[in-house]
Symmetry: D2
């Protein structure tokens, strides 16, 4: 398929309005969110489901994990910015997180 | 820890009364359940969470997967029957399955 | 992409000649192999890598796992037989299994 | 089991001599290593095997992943430093990484 093109910041901000808890990364053209789960098992179960989607899309997150926390940064290196692929992956991640045991504060 | 001992069939049946959709396997001292998820990703996400618990308990399921279905058989080979370990693992599996997208018929 | 077509049994047998340890399933148009790993962690690590490929191909195995053993059956239901997709997935699985700790008898 | 105690820096350095490519983190009492694999599937397959061990040990890494790279930091928060648990987990991780397809530069 054709590679996605970077969206304008205005377009990204508009998309983020419908992506609760996602925000622009200050210093670079990327979006980020932190997920907090009940424990490590839930966090890694989430990551495994995301991994299968990421591989299918051939579009992978930058992410880190400490116990029950998963911090995700999404950007499309080839396009030099946030693209429709990032928004797709963000929406899939949010759907997975809703089907996991989460802490009430996240 | 000390190895668990096989429970009597009466004890297992009593425990199954609180484990919805689990049943005795006809030909051997084991219990089984089939889970049906929304798709492969949910099924394998479930299996990954179970895998971490199974490894922690050093007690592993016999299980098979075809797309969105996961069939599980639990028994404790060392004890020659169903033990408290199997019931623990069954309860953990059920809790994970509740935090996954499932088909309405399962 | 266009869906694959079932290969003739002669064609499948020819392909199996290059797929060590895979064989035809007697009663149905499918191929199978059993992998034996060092332990459960290696077996499930193998399954996780396969899961990402399976989801990417939108082609999933029938498989079962008991501790360090993984039994795999591949067929393409839509095509009513073994197709090029099954051979692709079999080759990927074999490559993953070579990068895992395996028992010497498998 | 009893909780581990923090090792002295001299003890940690001695242990690191046998843990190739691991190093002390400059600003905190922790050790770190970066693994580079062939691709995302190998990186995440590695992480899945580590996850099962981490959960079994009830000792989890701080780690981040970008495509084929996995950066790991190990420390024992309860003990305020590097403990025998961290060295155990580091050794298990190294063993898993040897059974994965890796880039030649890592």
């Amino acid at each position: 398929m054709s590679r996605p093109v970077a969206l304008s910041e205005a377009h990204v901000l508009e998309a983020l309005a419908a992506l609760d808890l996602w925000e622009l990364v200050p210093a670079r053209p990327a979006i980020r969110r932190t997920y907090v789960f009940e424990n490590f098992i839930e966090a890694f179960g989430f990551m495994t489901r995301v991994a299968m989607v990421a591989e299918s899309l051939d579009h992978h997150p930058e992410w880190s994990n400490v116990y029950n926390r998963v911090e995700v940064v999404l950007t499309t290196h080839d396009a030099g910015g946030v693209t429709a692929l990032d928004l797709t992956l963000a929406r899939r991640m949010d759907a997975f997180a809703q089907n996991a045991s989460r802490r009430s504060d996240a």
